[in-house]
Amino acid sequence: MASIQYILKRLLLMIPTFFLVMIIIFLLVRFLPGDPAIAIAGDRASDADLEAIRERLGLNQPMLVQFWLFVTNTLQGDLGRSILLRAPVIDVIFDRLPTTIFLTLYAVTLSLLIAGPLAFVAALNRNKWPDAVIRTVFQVGLSMPVFYIGLILLTFLAAQLRWFPVGGYGDTFVERLHHMFLPSVTVALYTSAIIMRNLRSAIIEVLDAEYVQFARAKGLPDRLVLGRHVLRNALISTVTLLGLSIGNLMSGTLVTETVFAVPGVGRLMLEAIFARDYPLIQGLTLTFAVLVSVVFLLTDLFQSTLDPRMRLT
C-alpha cells in the first residue's frame, strides 16, 4: 500500500518536472540561431516563400501564444507535425522509439554481464594481477570516445572477420540481437567500465563488513556469503549508478545510432536539430524526459527491494 502511494506521489511530482522541461525546451529551440523556414525551404527560397512557411507553421504568432498552443496540444496528446517528415510527431517517435529502447536495454544487459563477473574477480583478487589487468583494460575503455571504439569494432569484427553486419537493424528478434550486438557492446563497454569500478569498490567494502565476517565465522559456504550478503549489499549503490547511466546511455545513442546506421530516436534527434524541426525536437525531448523519469522511479523501487531500510515515503 505504501509503495502504491509512493508511486502515485512520484508520478504527481513528474508533472512539474515535465512542465519545466517544456518551458526550457520551448525556449531553447527558439533561441537557437537559424530559421526553421530556411531549414525547410532551403537557402534558395524567396522571402515570400519563407514568410508563407512561417505563417503556416504559426511561427509568426507571439511566443506566449505558441507556448500556450504547445502546452494545450501536448496535454491532449498532440505533439504537432514534424516539419522535416511531414507526419505527426507522435507517430514518428513511436515508430523509432522501440529501436532505441532495444539498443539501450541490450547495452545495459551487456554492461551487467561484462561488469558483474569481472568486478567479483577483481574484488576477490584485490591488488593482485587479475585486478590490475581488469582495471587497466577498463581504464583504456573509459578514455576512448564511443564513436572511436565503434569504428574499431566495425573494422575488425564486421568488415574484416565478418562476424557481424556493419549496420542495420534486422527484422526478427534473433536478427536484431545479431545486428545490434556491435552498437550495444560499444555503448556497454563505456558503461560497464563505470559499473565495474563502482561494483568492485562496493564488494571490497562489503567483504570487510562485520556481518560478512560473522556469516563466514558461522560457517556459511562462500557461495551463499557472496550471493546473499555481499552481492545484494554491494548492488545498492550500483543500481543507483546504473539508473543514472541509462540517462547517459540514451544521450549516447545520438552518436552510436549515427555511426552504426541504427534508425532510432537518437539519430532522429540529430536530424531534427539540424532541420530546426521545433515540434520534433520538443516531442523527442519530452519523450527522453518521460523515459528517464520512469527509469529513476524504477531504480528507487528496486533499491527499496534490495534494502528494506530504504523506506518509500
Binding site: 537557437l32 530556411i38 537557402d43 534508425p263
Partner: protein
C-alpha cells in the same frame, strides 16, 4: 586524378548512349546513401536526397542529353517549338503505361504539369512561370506560353515536371494535394511510377526499396524493357566510415559521397571502382560587398580591389590538393561549373599572383591587421581546412582572418541578413540550364546575388532580357557578358569544382550519377 575524371565522364556518357551488350538481368542492387529521402514527389522534392531520386520513379516528357547541352526524347517521342516561341507541341510515345498497368495519357500530363506550375503547391513553380495553358488531345500535348521562354524544353526535362498518375492522386486520402502526396509516399507500399522503378518499400531514416517497373517504355540492349535489375535497395548510412566499411564488407554494392581523403585508398581496391562523376557542383565563398557591415562598421570587402586581391592571393590548386586530395579543378566560369550549358571558359579565375594581390591591397589602402571573419560550417573538416589555408594565404596581405563556426540553418540566415564577411557555400544545378545558377549568384532581385548585396544594373538587365531570348546566339552572348562582368567584380571567392565520388563494386555496371546529381539505375546491372 584529372585522367580519372575524364575517364568517368566518358564512362558516364557511354552508359547513357550505349548500354552494355551482354546483359545480366535480375538481381537487386544494394546502395548505401548518406541521407534518406523524405518525400519523392516531383513537385515537393526540395532536398537533394529527394530530387536526385525522382527520375527513377517518375519520368519526364524530355530528358537531358548525355553531354547536358540539349534535350532528347523521354515520355514524349517528339517535340516542336512554334516559330514565334509561344507554344510547344509534344507527341507522347504509343502505349505508355504506369507501373500498375494503367495507361499514361495526356490527362496525366496536364494534371502533372498543372500541379508543377501551381505556386500555391510547388516551390519550383517559378521555373514554369512562362506557361499559360497546357492542353491534351490524344497523344498530343500542347503547352502555350505567355512569352517566349528559352528554358522551357530544359524545364520539361527537369525533375519537377515528371509525370505522376492523376487517378492515384484522385483516389489518395487527404483533403489537400500536400496531404494526398504525403499519404501516397508514407504508405510505404507499392507506389505507382512512370519511371523505370516504382516505390515498393519505405522506412524513414532506415531504408527504401525500388522495384522494376514491368511496363517501362524504354528498351535495353537485349530488346526487352529496362531496367535490367529487379530492384534497388537503399540503406541510409550517414557516417562516411561506416558506409565505406559496408561496401568493403560486401554488404552493399555502392556507396555515395565518399570523402575525398578516402578516394586513393578505394582506387587501390581491386574489387571496387572508385568513380568520380563530373558534376555541376561548385564550391565558392560569397563575399559581403555592402559598404557597411550589419553592425554599421565600414566593410573593407566593399572595395572591389580587396575582393580581387583575396582572389589572387588564394592558391586554388593548393586548396584542391588540401581539401579534395587533387580530385577537383579551379572554376573557369565565375557563375557555374564547366559542365553547364553556356559556361564561358575564362581560364583559371584569378590564378595565384601574390604580387598583384599585394599591389591591389596597397592601392585600396588596407591597414595591416585588418580583421575579416570567415564563417564556416561547424564540424566540417573541409571548411576547417579551407579556413586554415586561407588564414595563411592572406596573412601576407595584412589580413587577420578570424573564424566563426555555425551550423547550416544559421549560415543560411546570416547569408540572408548580410551578417557575414565571407562564408563557404556550394551549389549543384537542379536544372539543365544556366538561368537558375546565374539568377542565384548574380541577379540582385532573385537572391541579392547570393546574399552578397552585389548589384550591377547591366548584369541585371542582361539577365532579365535573356529570360525571353530565344535566339541561341544572342542568349549565349548575353551569358558571356554576364560572366565577364561578374568575374571582374569578384563578389565571390572563386574556388573549385568537385566531382561526385561514388564507390561501386566491380559486380555493378551501368550505374551513373549525372552532373545534376541524379542517380540513374535504369541501365545498371549486377553480376553475383
Amino acid at each position: 586524378m584529372r585522367g580519372k575524371l575524364i575517364a568517368a565522364a566518358v564512362a558516364a556518357a557511354t552508359a547513357f548512349a550505349m548500354p552494355a551488350m551482354a546483359q545480366d538481368r535480375g538481381g537487386v542492387l544494394n546502395f548505401a546513401r548518406y541521407d534518406g529521402s523524405k518525400l519523392i514527389d516531383p513537385i515537393y522534392a526540395d532536398r537533394n536526397p529527394d530530387i536526385w531520386m525522382v527520375g527513377s520513379l517518375f519520368d519526364t516528357l524530355l530528358r537531358s542529353s548525355p553531354d547536358g547541352n540539349s534535350v532528347v526524347s523521354g515520355l514524349a517521342e517528339s517535340h516542336e517549338m512554334s516559330d514565334d516561341g509561344l507554344s510547344v507541341s509534344l507527341t507522347l510515345q504509343e502505349g505508355l503505361k504506369f507501373s500498375d498497368g494503367a495507361p499514361l495519357t495526356g490527362d496525366d500530363v496536364v494534371f502533372s504539369l498543372d500541379r508543377a506550375r501551381n505556386p500555391d503547391l510547388s516551390p519550383w513553380a517559378g521555373l514554369l512561370g512562362s506557361i499559360k495553358e497546357i492542353t491534351a488531345d490524344g497523344r498530343t500535348v500542347t503547352i502555350s506560353l505567355n512569352s517566349p521562354d528559352p528554358t522551357i524544353l530544359s524545364m520539361l526535362a527537369t525533375f519537377n515536371t515528371a509525370i505522376v498518375s492523376k487517378s492515384v492522386f484522385d483516389a489518395a486520402e487527404g483533403a489537400t494535394d500536400q496531404e494526398k502526396s504525403a499519404a501516397i509516399f508514407a504508405a510505404g507500399g507499392a507506389g505507382v511510377g512512370s519511371g523505370p522503378f516504382f516505390l515498393s518499400g519505405f522506412e524513414h531514416g532506415s531504408s527504401m526499396s525500388f522495384s522494376a517497373n514491368p511496363n517501362y517504355w524504354k528498351m535495353g540492349a537485349d530488346g526487352k524493357a529496362l531496367p535490367y535489375v529487379d530492384g534497388v535497395e537503399f540503406q541510409i548510412i550517414p557516417d562516411d566510415a561506416t558506409r565505406i566499411l559496408k561496401l568493403q564488407a560486401g554488404e552493399v554494392d555502392a556507396a555515395e559521397f565518399i570523402p575525398f581523403s578516402r578516394v586513393a585508398e578505394l582506387q587501390a581496391d581491386p574489387s571496387i571502382n572508385m568513380n568520380l562523376y563530373p558534376s555541376t557542383r561548385i564550391i565558392y565563398s560569397p563575399i559581403n560587398t555592402r559598404e557597411n557591415r550589419a553592425d554599421g562598421t565600414p566593410n573593407p570587402l566593399a572595395d572591389v580591389r580587396v575582393r580581387q586581391a583575396i582572389n589572387y592571393a588564394t592558391n586554388k590548386e593548393a586548396l584542391i590538393g588540401l581539401v579534395l586530395q587533387g580530385a577537383g579543378k579551379p572554376m573557369t566560369s565565375p557563375l557555374m561549373a564547366a559542365a553547364t550549358q553556356l559556361s564561358a571558359d575564362l581560364g583559371p579565375l584569378y590564378g595565384y599572383n601574390m604580387e598583384k594581390a599585394k599591389a591591389l591591397i596597397a592601392e585600396a589602402g588596407i591597414e595591416p591587421g585588418t580583421k575579416i571573419t570567415f564563417t564556416t560550417l561547424a564540424g566540417s573538416t573541409d571548411d576547417s581546412t579551407i579556413f586554415a589555408a586561407l588564414q595563411q594565404m592572406w596573412s601576407p596581405l595584412g589580413i587577420a582572418l578570424e573564424v566563426e563556426q555555425v551550423d547550416g540553418p544559421t549560415r543560411g540566415a546570416k547569408n540572408r541578413s548580410g551578417e557575414f564577411d565571407i562564408h563557404t557555400y556550394g551549389w549543384v544545378n537542379d536544372v539543365n540550364d544556366p538561368s537558375q545558377v546565374v539568377g542565384w549568384l548574380g541577379h540582385t532581385p532573385t537572391a541579392k546575388a547570393v546574399g552578397t548585396g552585389w548589384e550591377n544594373p547591366e548584369f541585371n538587365s542582361l539577365f532579365e532580357a535573356s529570360a525571353t531570348e530565344i535566339n541561341a546566339e544572342v542568349r549565349a552572348q548575353q551569358y558571356e557578358t554576364m560572366q565577364k562582368l561578374y568575374a571582374d567584380s569578384a563578389p565571390l571567392l572563386f574556388m573549385y569544382e568537385t566531382p561526385f565520388a561514388v564507390a561501386v563494386s566491380t559486380a555493378v555496371e551501368g550505374y551513373v550519377q549525372t552532373p545534376l546529381g541524379n542517380n540513374i539505375f535504369e541501365e545498371a546491372t549486377v553480376s553475383r
